[in-house]
Structure formats: structure tokens, C-alpha cells
């Protein structure tokens, strides 16, 4: 008998149907991977299982957890099951913990809410749980607060809270999406180990096929609130029938066709750049400590080249990006674009800055919601000495929007009328409008679903051929860098540790850090395409 049995579950909020006759099952000790894009209903399936739904949500069908009918239980009994029979791990470790309580108290709370134990006894059990998630008490005492831990460590605390009472079922909703590749690999290994040790069932939700392919026993693929395909992980990739599954797989492994360009003279030259930040004082009148974020980085990007910069969060890649853009002054070294310095004296050089543009990660936060698209797209014109006006300006807007596959008439709309992928197209249009030579793409496709990501990568490949653009592609995601760059730099702790042609670096890495990164990156099984 299976541990979790979801049969014909339909869920609607108001008149809007979110789930449509979803059926899934998890056996004890089994890992079920649920895959889907945003809005496919995969998280709602998890919250329905926990019966932690937004107000006004109505469920029909059947959810049986270890023989208990979840849809028929009163709230008090559901509370008794949550945390003891079923635990849950969430996507955002940075906000999933109460910032005002120690990690010991928060883990102990799971125990004390379900069992009559003393505080001391509960804390001992909490320490045990934290040790099981590899946070030993000598290095991570129970008295630590969440803000003293990294994202990966916080996610371990959340896992400890979820498994403290050895539940029969664990639900993990995108548990590694917000983490770096190496941390992701550690967390996935930890979850797999706990499942095997406790014989727990795991409902693992992800948008990333490769993450789930590595660890799941069975995989279900969801689209628009329905399960469209389900099967054993080992064979599913070969036997999948549904067009959506196939499209999803194709998009995950998509490699855009870059038109090879003649490589020209060096366009961007970064020479021995240093960037330091002052840190908070340790003592009242003591000297300020400095944080050395970028330690003597040098790189060259040739005209027409697409260069990747890879590293984990905190490695200094965003600091370097801001320095290249001339948003911050560096403390040592120099940055030149087409032979001219980005900073002249203490002032950024607008003549240089308008020759490069940037596209950021978040398609939702990087636009002023009160301006129309036409105005948003023309923002970079403030760098020009005599920006086009009147008909010339309208023509420039139309050209930029059409270049990214939108219509010229979209200029009078507001940003909330567009989807995430369309917004990222608008961000690219904004970057194109000054006809730059270089575009910096700072995690520009990281927040997008795989299919949309594939389309944007195709667009970038197309634009580079048409406009002779060079790209500096900054990302923590090796698969994206692999598909679109000619050369790649690997950055660790403020330094470039390895550099070379992308294919060579990723296939035969020489530096230990690169080897670690490549090994940690989840991959689809060989030969599925």
C-alpha cells in the first residue's frame, strides 16, 4: 500500500481551477519527482497534501496519507499530523526561519508541539536532528540565530525541523532552487540519505529535470494543473509520449545556434582590478576591516566574442560586473572598453558607458511599474549627448521592440501586462536601444522557466549575429554558459582560477574548484536526446 495516495484531486480558488484531477502516489522509501513550470500546480499539490491552502481554496477528490483521509480531517487533527507524520521543506531558506529565535529553539519546537517533553529533552533531540543534517553542535551550537548561517546551512535547519520526528513523508518544494550548484548537490545528497535511512517517502518538487533525474525513483510531469506523464525515472526519458514532456526535455538541453563571428580586436580589457569594501567596525574606535571582493582580476573580451563568467554567490562576480559597468569605482587596476577607460578621474565616462548595456536577473524588479514600455526602453538614452527626439525616437523604440520579437505598439503598455519571458525581452530591447557593442547578461535567464529560457537564448544568439554584439554572460548555471559562450572564466573568492574555451574547461577542468563545480552540476542521463 502506498504511503501517500492522491486521487483525482481538483482544486479551485473562486472560479479559477488550479488542479484538475491530479493523481499521484508515493510508496514508503520512494522518491517521487514532480516537475513542471511555474503555474503548473506542482506547489499547490504539495500545499493541498499538507492542507495548508490559501483561504477560499476548495479541494475535491481524495488525499490519503498513511490511511488518513486528509480532506475529511478537522483542523486539530491536521495540526497533529503536520510536522509529525509529514514534514515540509521550502524553496527560500533565507526567509523560511524565524529571525528572532535560535535554531535550537526552532527545531525543538517541532518536537515540543507534538510530544510532552521538557525543554531540555526537546533541545537534546533537536541537537540530534541537527547532527543528522550535518550541522554538528561543536561548530553550529543550538544558540545560533538564522542570520549567522549561510543559505545552505539554513536549508539544513529547515530540513532538521521537518525530519526531527522522523515523519513518514517529506515534501520538498524546490529545496535547492535558491542555492549554488555545490550546495545544491550537498542538499540533494542529504535528502537522499535521509530517505534511505528512515525509509521515508519523498515528494520532490522541481522545475529542473536534471535535478530530479539524478535522485528520483519515479517522475511525474505536470502542466496546467494536470499530470501529463508519469513513469520510472530510469526509463521515462526514453518512453515519454506526451508532446509537452518532449518539449520540456528538448528545452532543458537546448543549445542555441550561435552564428560564428570573426573575432576582432580586444573590446573589453580588465587589468588587475581590485575592489575592497569597508566592513563594520569590530570595536568602537578600532580600525575598519576591509573585505577584498575582487582580487586582481584580468580578462579580455574580443569583439564578437561571447564570454562566460562562472562562480558561486559571494565569489565577486556581481562586484566585477558593477565595476565594468562603471557603476562603482575600483581601488586598483583599470577597465577599458575599446581602448578607453570606463572611469576618467573620479567620474564614469558616459561616452564609454553607452557602448555597453546590461540585462539583470529579475524581470519583475528591474522595471519601474509606473512607466510605459516606450519610456522604460529609452532609459539608456540619458547616456547620449543628443538623444533622438520625435519621430527618430519613436523609430528607435519600434526597432528595439521588433528586434526582440515584440510589436512596436507594445510601447504604450505597462510592464505588468507582460509575462516574465516578455519582460526579459523588454530588458534586452532596453539594452539594444543605444546600439551597444557589449551586453552584460547578469544571470539574465536564471529566473525563467526552461522553455522560455530556451527562447531567450535563441533570441540572444540571433541578435549577436544580426548586430555584431559581444556578450559577457555572468551566471552560476554551467549548462547555460555551456550552450551560449565561446570561452569561460571561473571565479572563486575574488580571483579567476581557470580560463579557456568553454567546451574544454567544462569537459576537462584542471583547477580543483572547477572540477568541483562541474561534478556538482546536475545532468540529464546520457543519451536521452
Amino acid at each position: 500500500m502506498s504511503l501517500l495516495e492522491i486521487q483525482n484531486l481538483s482544486l479551485s480558488i473562486g472560479t479559477y481551477e488550479i488542479l484538475h484531477r491530479v493523481s499521484l502516489s508515493v510508496a514508503p522509501g520512494e522518491i517521487l519527482g514532480v516537475i513542471g513550470e511555474s503555474g503548473s500546480g506542482k506547489s499547490m499539490t504539495a500545499f493541498a497534501t499538507m492542507q495548508l491552502l490559501p483561504e477560499g481554496a476548495r479541494c475535491e477528490g481524495r488525499i490519503a496519507l498513511d490511511g488518513q483521509e486528509m480532506l475529511e480531517l478537522p483542523e486539530a487533527q491536521l495540526c497533529a499530523l503536520r510536522g509529525s507524520a509529514v514534514g515540509m521543506v521550502f524553496q527560500e531558506p533565507m526567509t523560511a526561519l524565524n529571525p528572532l529565535q535560535t535554531i535550537g529553539d526552532q527545531v525543538a519546537e517541532t518536537i515540543r508541539i507534538h510530544q510532552k517533553t521538557s525543554r531540555r529533552q526537546a533541545l537534546l533531540l533537536a541537537q540530534e536532528a541537527l547532527e543528522r543534517v550535518e550541522l554538528p553542535a561543536d561548530r553550529f551550537p543550538l544558540s545560533r540565530y538564522p542570520h549567522e548561517l549561510s543559505g545552505g546551512q539554513r536549508q539544513r535547519v529547515v530540513i532538521a525541523m521537518a525530519i526531527a520526528l522522523r515523519p513518514k513523508l517529506l515534501i520538498a518544494d524546490e529545496p535547492t532552487t535558491a542555492l549554488d550548484v555545490t550546495t545544491q548537490a550537498q542538499i540533494l545528497a542529504l535528502l537522499t540519505r535521509l530517505v534511505r535511512e528512515d525509509g521515508m517517502g519523498l515528494l520532490m518538487i522541481s522545475h529542473d529535470l536534471a535535478v530530479v533525474a539524478d535522485m528520483a525513483d519515479r517522475i511525474a510531469i505536470m502542466q496546467n494543473g494536470r499530470v501529463v506523464e508519469e513513469g520510472p525515472a530510469r526509463t521515462l526519458f526514453h518512453t515519454m509520449q506526451h508532446p509537452y514532456s518532449k518539449a520540456l526535455l528538448a528545452a532543458s538541453a537546448h543549445a542555441p545556434v550561435m552564428t560564428p563571428q570573426e573575432e576582432g580586436a580586444p573590446l573589453l580589457e580588465v587589468r588587475d582590478v581590485h575592489r575592497r569594501y569597508p566592513m563594520a567596525r569590530k570595536t568602537l574606535f578600532g580600525p575598519r576591516q576591509e573585505f577584498h571582493a575582487v582580487k586582481g582580476v584580468s580578462l579580455t573580451l574580443k569583439a564578437g566574442e561571447s564570454l562566460g563568467l562562472v562562480g558561486e554567490s559571494g565569489c565577486g562576480k556581481s562586484t566585477l560586473t558593477r565595476a565594468i559597468l562603471g557603476l562603482e569605482q575600483v581601488q586598483g587596476g583599470e577597465i577599458r572598453l575599446g581602448g578607453q577607460p570606463v572611469f576618467t578621474g573620479d567620474k564614469p565616462n558616459p561616452a564609454v558607458r553607452r557602448r555597453m548595456q546590461v540585462v539583470f536577473q529579475d524581470p519583475y524588479g528591474s522595471f519601474n511599474p509606473r512607466h510605459r514600455v516606450g519610456r522604460l526602453v529609452t532609459e539608456p538614452f540619458h547616456l547620449s549627448e543628443n538623444p533622438p527626439t520625435g519621430a527618430a525616437r519613436e523609430a528607435a523604440i519600434a526597432e528595439a521592440l521588433e528586434a526582440v520579437g515584440l510589436k512596436a505598439s507594445d510601447k504604450s503598455k505597462y510592464i505588468h501586462e507582460f509575462s516574465g519571458g516578455q519582460r526579459q525581452r523588454i530588458a534586452i530591447a532596453r539594452a539594444l536601444i543605444t546600439k551597444p557593442e557589449l551586453i552584460l547578461l547578469d544571470e539574465a535567464v536564471s529566473a525563467l522557466d526552461v522553455q522560455v529560457r530556451a527562447q531567450i537564448l535563441d533570441l540572444l544568439a540571433d541578435l549577436s549575429g544580426r548586430f555584431g554584439l559581444s556578450y559577457l554572460f555572468i551566471s552560476h548555471d554551467l549548462s547555460v554558459v555551456r550552450s551560449i559562450t565561446d570561452r569561460v572564466l571561473v571565479m572563486q573568492a575574488g580571483e579567476i582560477v581557470e580560463e579557456g574555451p568553454t567546451e574544454q574547461v567544462l569537459e576537462r577542468p584542471t583547477h580543483p574548484y572547477t572540477k568541483k563545480l562541474v561534478a556538482a552540476a546536475p545532468r540529464l542521463p546520457e543519451g536521452v536526446l
Binding site: C79, A80, R82, F90, N98, P99, L100, I113, Y145, L284
Partner: protein, 315 residues
């Protein structure tokens, strides 16, 4: 935590030094001749000279500032020009009314607003919530002197439960004194409680939407437990900020209410002193209020740090 306290205390002392210098400069140095300001345009030259001598204006401004500050530190605020009695005495008389009144009003504010705000937030969108939002809207909008007169009409004139004004004094015992402060405290607390209840409600609604509240629910806490154990303390930071501002306001901002109820408080003192151009009194009362504001801010910051461990380790 010790380092945090030291840093905050240093900044408290520095704020006081800067504030006292500014007050001294604005009141005693900038007008040119304080004696001329106090006596008006028609003053005789010999009376001006006598007043200058009396006020010690013949010294250099730096020395005068130094004497003023050392005097303040010893509790010597100078002598009132219009009443000819030590300012310290006048202020301490008035503080016996204003401080209890402000504390009374603040306690009422907190005791009413916090539960009401929590009640409304925990039943978001219900009739209770709508009712609370409506009543507090009214509470903010109604002028408190009008509300005070209404209360006098009902509770003093018709029902005769309270006296219509005046202060019984502390010599008669605590209860009669508190009784004479009750109507003024309610009048002062009404708009403040309305504001604070709305702040409490929205702060709690914000934290109830946070991820860690969802985590708590996934651990098996009931909605109520999640609210009290996780959301409430996180919602206190904005609430404390408002309480600090409200206390500073209540200490001197009750001037109209003091007039309605004939209470000899600080607000009336400073009003009379300004009308009488009694600069010595104005200066001392302003300094005292600044001192109160700075100390209250310090206490609020210490309270922040007690609530939030992130603030203890930062800076």
C-alpha cells in the same frame, strides 16, 4: 550587547551636547540681545542694562553656554524672569502633572491598541476587522479637544462621575489625582490608540504573510500558535517605533487638552513662558523635552535589540 549599549550611550551623550548647543544658540545668541527680546521694543536703556547684568549677558557666549550646561547638570535651571522663582521648581511642579498624564495616556494607548490590532489582524476581512478599521479611522479624525469637551459634558456635567477640570494634587493620595487625570488621559489616548492599533494590525498582517509563519504551520502549529509564537514578536519593531514617538508627543503635546481641563502641565507652562517672553523658562523646558525625546529613543533602540538578535550584532 555590551558594545551595542556603549555605542548607543555614546551617541545619546553626543546628541545631548549638540542639541543643547543648538538650543542655546537659537535662544540666547542668534536674537542678538535676549534682554531686548524679553523687555520688548519700548524698554528703557537702564532696565535693559539691569536685566543684562541679572541674566549674566555681559560674559562671552561660550562661557555663558558653559555655565548654563554645568548649571543644568547640577539641577540649576536659572531663575524665571517673570515669576522670580527658580525654573527647576516650576518644571518639577508641572512634571508632577505632565509625566503621570503622559504615562497614563500611553498605558491606555498600548493596552487598547495592541489587543485590538491583533484581534483585527487575526480576523482579516471579517466584520471585526472592518469595524476596527472604521472606528480607528474615526478616532484619528475626531479632534481630541472636541472629544474632551464631549466627555466633560457627559461624565462631569451630566453623570457627575468626574470633575470637569483641575488637578487634585498628589497630597490627597494617588486615587483622587489619578481620577482627575482620567478624562484628559482618555482624550489624549483616543487618537494615539487609533493610530497604534492600525500600525499593529498592518505590521502583524505583514509578518503573518512571511515564509517563516508558513514554516511554523508546516511544523504543526495552529494558526493561533503561529501568530503568538512567531508573527507577534516580529511585528513589534514598527509598533515600538510608534510608541516611542507617541510618548514624546504626549509629554508636551497635551497643551490643548491641558487647557480644556485646566491642568497645570508642561504644555501650559511653555505656552505662558512664550507669551511672557520668559526665555529662561522656554530654554529649560525645550531642553528638558529634547532630553526626554533622546532618552525615549535610546530606550526604543535598546528594546529593538532585545527583540531582534540581528540588531545586537550589527554596528
Amino acid at each position: 550587547m555590551l558594545r551595542f549599549l556603549l555605542t548607543r550611550l555614546t551617541s545619546l551623550v553626543l546628541s545631548l551636547v549638540v542639541a543643547s548647543a543648538v538650543i542655546f544658540a537659537v535662544i540666547e545668541v542668534l536674537p542678538g540681545d535676549p534682554a531686548a527680546v524679553m523687555l520688548g521694543v519700548n524698554a528703557q536703556e537702564d532696565t535693559l542694562a539691569a536685566l543684562r547684568e541679572e541674566l549674566g549677558l555681559t560674559e562671552a557666549p561660550v562661557m555663558r553656554y558653559f555655565h548654563w550646561v554645568t548649571g543644568l547638570l547640577q539641577g540649576d535651571f536659572g531663575v524665571s524672569y517673570s515669576y522670580r522663582i527658580p525654573v527647576a521648581e516650576m518644571i518639577s511642579d508641572r512634571l508632577q502633572v505632565s509625566l503621570p498624564l503622559a504615562l497614563f495616556a500611553l498605558v491606555l494607548t498600548v493596552v487598547i491598541a495592541i489587543p485590538v490590532g491583533i484581534w483585527a489582524a487575526s480576523r482579516r476581512g471579517s466584520a471585526v476587522d472592518l469595524g476596527v478599521m472604521g472606528v480607528t479611522q474615526l478616532g484619528v479624525a475626531v479632534p481630541n479637544f472636541w472629544f474632551a469637551m464631549l466627555m466633560v459634558l457627559v461624565f462631569a456635567v451630566n453623570l457627575r462621575w468626574f470633575s470637569a477640570g483641575g488637578f487634585a494634587g498628589w497630597d490627597e493620595g494617588i486615587l483622587p489625582a489619578l481620577k482627575s487625570l482620567t478624562l484628559p488621559a482618555i482624550a489624549l489616548a483616543l487618537p494615539q490608540a487609533s493610530i497604534l492599533a492600525r500600525v499593529m494590525r498592518s505590521a502583524l498582517l505583514d509578518t503573518l504573510g512571511e515564509d517563516f509563519v508558513r514554516t511554523a504551520r508546516a511544523k504543526g502549529l495552529t494558526r493561533r500558535q503561529a501568530l503568538w509564537r512567531h508573527a507577534f514578536r516580529n511585528a513589534l519593531i514598527p509598533v515600538l517605533t510608534i510608541i516611542g514617538l507617541q510618548f514624546s508627543f504626549l509629554l508636551a503635546g497635551g497643551i490643548i487638552i491641558e487647557n480644556v481641563f485646566y491642568l497645570p502641565g508642561l504644555g501650559r507652562l511653555i505656552f505662558q513662558a512664550i507669551s511672557a517672553r520668559d526665555l529662561v523658562v522656554v530654554e529649560s523646558v525645550v531642553m528638558l523635552l529634547v532630553f526626554a525625546v533622546i532618552v525615549v529613543n535610546f530606550l526604543v533602540e535598546v528594546a529593538y535589540a532585545l527583540i531582534d538578535p540581528r540588531l545586537r550584532s550589527a554596528r
